[in-house]
Every structure is written in C-alpha cells, then in structure tokens.
C-alpha cells in the first residue's frame, strides 16, 4: 500500500460567487449529491470525511462532526485540515493516508467556504500583537514586502507577471463556474496600470475573496476497479512543509517551503520538473506562481520572469497553467479556494476539460500555500503530483 493506491473517482464544484445566498451546508449537500451521481457510490459507502479549513466554520471546534451530522454521514474517519490554503490538497493526501492505514474505505473531501457571507473566524496568532498595530493588512502587505525583496535580489519584470495574469484570465473566460465579475478579458497593460494596493502589489496581482466549494470522492484503486470505474486519478507524489526555516532569524523570503515539498513530491513520483505536463499552483498573488516555478525547478532561482517570458501558459501551450482561471481569475472560495486548482487538475486528467481541455494529460502538478507568518513568505507549502490511473 502507498499514496498511489488511492484513487480520486469523482470531482465536483459549485459556481464561485461574490457572496453566497446559500448556506455552507447547502453547498456541501450539492457537492455530495454531485459526487454520488457521478460515481455511482451510495451515501452509506462513504466512511470518511475530510474538510478543508473554512472561515465560516472557524468558530466551531466541532466543525467536521457537525458538518457530517448535517449531511447525514456515518463515519469511521472525520477531521478538518487547518493548514490554510494548503488544506484541500493536504486533505487529499490525508485521505490517501487514511485509506492506506485501513481507517476508511471511501473518503469525501469537502472544500467549502462562505467567507464573504459569513466569516466566523477569530484568529489567535502573532497578528494582534505584532502586525495589527502597524496597519499590516495581512496578505497584501506580506506580498508587498516579499516582492520588494525579490526585486532587490533578482530584479522583477512586471510585464512577465502580467503575462501570467493574462493567461489565467483567458482560462477564466472559458470557465462557466468562475466568478462572473472576473470574466472580462485583460491585457498586460491593464495589469501594469491596475492600482497599487501595497507597493508593488497591484489589484490585478491579488485574489478576490469569494464564496463557493468543491469536493472529491476518494477510494482505493482496488475498490474503484471493483466498482467498474474506468476513469480515476491517482496521487503519485506529495510533499508538505510547514514553517520552512523557522529557526533562522533572517529568512530569504524569495525561497519557500515548496523547494523542500516539491523535491519530495517529484522524487516520490519519479519525475523532474521538465516532465510536468500541466501546472496548477496555488495563486493568491501572481508573484507566488512565478516563485513556485523556481522552487519546483522549472528554472533557476531568480530566473522566473525569464522563464515566464519564454513559456506559453495557455491551455494549448507548452505548460498549461491553472486552466480554470486560478483563484486570481476564478475567485478565491475563502479557505476552500485551494480546491479550485486541485479540482481543475483532476478534471483535466479525466479528459473533461471541454473547450479548455489540454492535450498532455500524462500528469498534473498541484500546489498549496497556507497561512501568512511574521516576516516570512507563507506558513505551509504543499506539492502533489497526479496522474490518470497509474
């Protein structure tokens, strides 16, 4: 048994909206019904539930069991993953681990958040004491500090970052589930001229927080075959790193835990960066995409912008990127937003990308970023390699 004995047999996703008029459990119920319809599984066969973080559920210390109750699930394994935006991909890894340990047979990974409509979070962290008194708004300030430092060390070609923004926006135009407000074409000039939020972070660098959800149904490959399912997706490599270089006082913020997590995931998969067929990185700010290209070894550190300039990231290009628009152009479904790029990778490997289907579906790499720490880049980095039935 191993990670690759797990099989993602179904995926589901809701429309991403600026503000949900539906309760988070109604979203969860829709995702559950869609997964049952698409896979032929019965509700009673689901014996595991793994939730991503959510701002709506953040006040409830009983969140996973309460949600299971609301959805009528009787379970042998039930938990919430709380590594921020890394949670959806982290949840799939934990589902595979639970299957591997024999703790569950069929796991529903549910990623839903209605952060705009109902934010119940009250975060206990360094923030109240060491950041809030500075007017430090969190992610934009953190990425402003990161970007200025990157520029100082390596230089930053903002038109290269704009190219990433434009490629993702093009994909959102092909995604009916993307937030409607964002489904307007943009140019590199639009990116460069968008207003500054926290220098040099612009509006079009940034995600817009939205409401929505996605989910996966995960079982063993053996069970998937017993059920006669012909299409499924297998995780063949995973790496996770929280608090990269926590014991260093002066951290080079241009390097992230993805260097460690990516190395582990790719080694587990037996692949190198040049073998990656499509890339679905967590995108809260555009520069995070460019940095992850460096961290995973698509190019050397400091060469990210040059690599971007010579690469075609569209769904017909040589390295398709976040082909449903990424969070920046599809909308960030709160702390469940990491599910957007993950579910898109699964959809592409199922060959169900429709008008944005990519041609090379040998594999796909998904990443996560979670949490903004004090004076560093991000708290948790995850990397997962997926293949069609391997």
């Amino acid at each position: 048994m191993a990670l690759r004995d797990a099989a993602v047999v179904g995926y589901a996703e809701t429309k991403i909206v600026e503000k949900s008029d539906r309760d988070i459990w109604e979203i969860g119920a829709e995702l559950l019904a869609t997964l049952l319809d698409r896979t032929g599984f019965e509700k009673g066969e689901i014996d595991g539930l793994i939730l991503s973080s959510s701002m709506t559920g953040a006040s409830n210390a009983f969140w996973s069991q309460t949600t299971a109750d609301q959805l009528g699930l009787e379970l042998d394994f039930c938990q919430t993953v709380d590594i921020g935006g890394s949670s959806p991909t982290g949840a799939l890894a934990r589902a595979a681990a639970a299957l591997d340990a024999g703790l569950a047979m069929t796991v529903f990974c549910l990623y839903a958040d209605t952060q705009v409509a109902e934010n119940n979070s009250r975060q206990r962290s360094f923030h109240g004491e060491w950041a809030a008194p500075l007017g430090y708004l969190g992610p934009p300030a953190a990425f402003g500090l990161l970007s200025k430092r990157y520029e100082h060390q390596f230089g930053l070609d903002y038109s290269a970052l704009g190219k990433l923004a434009v490629a993702q926006r093009g994909h959102a135009l092909l995604n009916d589930l993307a937030c409607e407000k964002l489904r307007k074409p943009i140019t590199i000039e639009d990116y460069l001229n968008s207003r500054m939020i926290a220098d040099p972070i612009r509006l079009l660098d940034s995600v817009m927080v939205c409401d929505g959800g996605s989910g996966l149904l995960v079982t063993s490959r053996k069970r998937a075959k017993q059920k006669g399912l012909s299409k499924f997706v297998v995780p063949i490599g995973y790496g996770e790193r929280t608090n990269f270089r926590i014991a260093e006082n002066i951290v080079d913020v241009t390097e992230s835990g993805h260097s460690a997590a990516g190395k582990r995931a790719l080694e587990m998969a037996g692949l190198s960066a040049r073998d990656i067929a499509s890339f679905h990185p967590y995108d809260d700010f555009i520069i995070a995409i460019m940095m992850q290209l460096e961290m995973l070894g698509f190019c050397k550190r400091g060469q990210g912008c040059a690599f971007v300039k010579e690469t075609d990231f569209t769904h017909t290009g040589n390295l398709p990127l976040n082909t449903s628009g990424g969070q920046i152009s599809a909308g960030q479904a709160g702390l469940a937003g990491g599910g957007t790029n993950l579910v898109e990778a699964v959809r592409q490997l199922f060959g169900e990308g429709g008008k944005r289907q990519i041609s090379n579906t040998k594999n796909a790499v998904v990443t996560g970023i979670g949490g903004i720490p004090y004076g560093r880049n991000w708290a948790t980095s995850v990397v997962m390699v997926l293949t069609p039935d391997a």
């Binding site: 008194p133 500075l134 007017g135 430090y136 402003g144 430092r149 926290a198 972070i201 014991a247 004076g375």
Partner: protein, 142 residues
C-alpha cells in the same frame, strides 16, 4: 520630489494585549527600551517573543536590551487598509534587520518615498499607545 508618507501617529491604535511570556517586552516599552529574547544555549536572539527558544525548543531565554538600530530589509507602501488606519494612507510598513541579527516589522516615519530603499539605516522611533506603552517604529538614521 516626494513628501514624507503618513506617519500614522494620529491613528487611534489600541494597545495590544500581551501574552504571559511577552509582557516584559511591552513593560519595557513604557521607558522606550527595546528588549529582545536571547537564547543562552545557542547564543542567538529571536523575535517576536515566544514561549520557547526557536533554536532548542526549551524556554531557556533571557531578555536583553538592544539599540534597535538596523537597516531596511524590505518595505511596502500600504495604500489600502482597514479601520482605524483608513484615511491615513499611504504609509510605510518595513521589515528591519536589527544589528543583533533579527528581522522586525515596523512602520517607518519621517521618510519620503525617494529616500526609502533596502539597506537604508534606521533607528527606533517610539509611538505612544493609550495604556502608557509604546509601539516600536523606525525612522531614518541620517
């Protein structure tokens, strides 16, 4: 030529609520003294204050007063904020590398955009908080 950015000194900040292990830091700011945790076993400073050493996992820490002088490691200009900072933009938020080798976040005051740069020498500037403690800020050390 550019004007100095907002010094945010008129922002109605609340005094942060210290934790059991960070109270000495805030108490020292009443006298505008900067004290930082020092790990005896590893011979290193650490910031922000924690209940344990980042280096050894043991609470073998002492407080040492430091000058607070350092240089800009990175900076950003906050142009969009929330209450109580709304209307006080734009202002600087910077990461400062102190002489003793730790990075500290702080506002930078009395500084123009043209003067700001990574590597700029800075020194502490203390902004009063309502409970008699002071918030550590920085200003150029000209």
């Amino acid at each position: 030529m550019s004007a100095p950015l907002n010094d945010t000194l008129s922002v109605k900040r609340e005094a942060p609520k210290p934790r059991s292990y960070s109270k000495p830091f805030w108490d020292a700011t009443r006298e505008k003294k900067l004290i930082i945790q020092y790990c005896r076993k590893s011979g290193k400073y650490q910031f922000f204050p924690r209940a344990t050493s980042l280096f050894t996992g043991r609470p073998d820490l002492e407080w040492r007063e430091v000058s607070g002088k350092g240089e800009i490691f990175s900076y950003t200009v906050a142009r969009r904020t929330r209450e109580p900072f709304q209307g006080h933009e734009p202002f600087f938020i910077a990461t400062v590398t102190l002489d003793v080798g730790v990075n500290v976040l702080g506002n930078v005051v009395h500084c123009e955009l043209d003067e700001m740069r990574i590597g700029l020498p800075v020194k502490p500037f203390w902004a009063p908080l309502p409970n008699g403690t002071n918030l550590l800020m920085f200003e150029p050390d000209r």
